[in-house]
Symmetry: C2
Subunit: 301 residues, 2 copies
């Protein structure tokens, strides 16, 4: 089933206890697409500036990612972010952010993409998320992310978006702030009252919660000592979820549980190297082997 993602495409500089990566490929739509394309072709909608390096574009071209919706805007500069992870590396400290082209008009959605059935709206201004939803002809499943900035400054616009989507994938701090609930199961249950049929709450190294009307599933992260750079872990988590749902064409409770497990495995690869280093070389065989290991770990009689 056709899968569309829109989100940021950026140039990152990241410092972690394990080293430092300067001006590397990043952005939510990039991380999402690289892993979702392991399951199904991906249609990417995003905008970069004329400074976007051709070798970054080639990373995306090497995968089944349709770049018809990737606008290179002349006279503009690409989104840049720099951040630092310390200690348990559960949260990045943003050192610098230049929205650049992301602060301008959004990229147009190619006409050929408007029939997309499965859609992921990575974090951006809720107004833009709504505008994109309204262009779609026959979406079957729309899922969105957001961030604390919009929760604080665009709450009503954000709640309107939530009323239009089928699922949300947000992190624990965002879920707590938006719902004013400390208990994460309660927070996720309250998210459902805004409209979505499912809510996934990301807890970094502590895994995630999936809450639907049918119940709650709590899953751990894949335990690993190979943690180099957590940048993009949440976006690849979403990419694994949506990629799987698009591949299997179903979003019922059992499929959602399987999808979240695949998201967890996806994230465990991302963090093994800086930027998209590990995702570029990842094979489906490697993914499936780790997925089997993860599911075996959880299978207790």
């Amino acid at each position: 089933m056709s899968l569309l993602v829109t989100g940021s495409i950026g140039i990152d500089t990241v410092i972690t206890p394990f080293g430092h990566a300067e001006s590397v490929l990043g952005g939510s739509a990039v991380y999402f697409s690289l892993i979702a394309s392991q399951f199904t072709p991906v249609r990417l909608v995003g905008v970069v500036g004329e400074d976007f390096p051709p070798e970054f574009r080639r990373v995306l071209e090497a995968r089944p990612i349709d770049l018809a919706g990737l606008e290179v805007r002349q006279g503009s500069r690409t989104f840049r972010w720099s951040g630092k992870f310390e200690g348990a590396m559960n949260e990045a400290e943003t050192l610098n952010v230049h929205l650049n082209v992301l602060a301008e008009a959004p990229p147009p959605v190619p006409h050929a993409f408007l029939d997309s059935r499965i859609v992921f709206l990575a974090n951006t201004h809720p107004g833009l998320q709504k505008a994109l939803i309204q262009q779609l002809h026959a979406p079957k499943l729309i899922v969105c992310d957001t961030m604390n900035l919009w929760i604080r400054t665009q709450r009503s616009a954000l709640l309107e978006v939530f009323s239009l989507v089928d699922g949300v994938i947000i992190n624990d701090a965002e879920a707590r702030e938006l719902t004013d609930r400390v208990n994460l199961v309660e927070a996720a249950q309250k998210l459902l009252t805004y409209g979505p049929k499912f809510a996934v709450v990301k807890k970094g190294e502590n895994g995630a919660l999936l809450v639907t009307e049918q119940g709650t599933t709590s899953l751990p992260a894949f335990p690993t000592t190979r943690v180099c750079d957590p940048t993009g872990a949440g976006d690849t988590f979403a990419g694994g979820i949506l990629g799987y749902l698009a591949q299997c064409g179903d979003a019922g409770p059992a499929s959602l549980r399987r999808a979240v497990a695949r998201g967890m495995v996806a994230a465990s690869f991302t963090i093994e190297d800086f930027s998209v280093g590990r995702l570029r070389t990842l094979t489906r065989r490697e993914f499936d082997a780790r997925l089997e290991e993860y599911l075996r770990m959880l299978h207790i009689d």
Copy 2:
């Protein structure tokens, strides 16, 4: 297989966002015994003062817990602790602690208990833990807990205890402090170099890690909105683990994984009420029903 526990028996006062419980039954050995006795009879070694209320003793007498090792020391007062949980309630703030009888000589171990095969040493001074180990005639499995105080002040005595036990069950902050490792899988792996064959790292609402030479298992907590008072959750977690291991008479990797799952379910009941309120009424049927629900949640294909 005979199961012995030694640890604190106390009178707690606890404040949580959901209320307040004054002078209620508490202590690591109490929480441990109440749940472990769902699986197998428990031999309890501990000491209280002459102020220990008879109704608290009756709570223990109502379960298959052998109190031959419960000393009531005349002229002494029972251990008292008061603490407060706030926010996500992951950690208690200690408001007051009176060691009282716990600062005196340890209780003698009844001769009839010295043949115990499975032994849990709840948190206490490492010197006392070692003294107890040395009295045992033919232990098959010894597991211990500890706390940050001993990590900071009795490091070499603690490492000596670790070299004498088969397993450790400690929390994430303790594992990090003791091993000087931030990554919890690495921390647990380093714990094994001190001697134990397995290490369980407790992460509160985020579940736990089990690390053996054969590999790592990460399990989530049972997701629940019924969180009233986390006091004793870690001790009941250990009680579920050891109770199951004593019942099945095996501590191989597969049994350990099953045991940790049972510990997780045990803890989920403890937190539903103040003190041992929920554990007093808990039936094995209720336990098994939730265990089945928990294992089903984790079983993904």
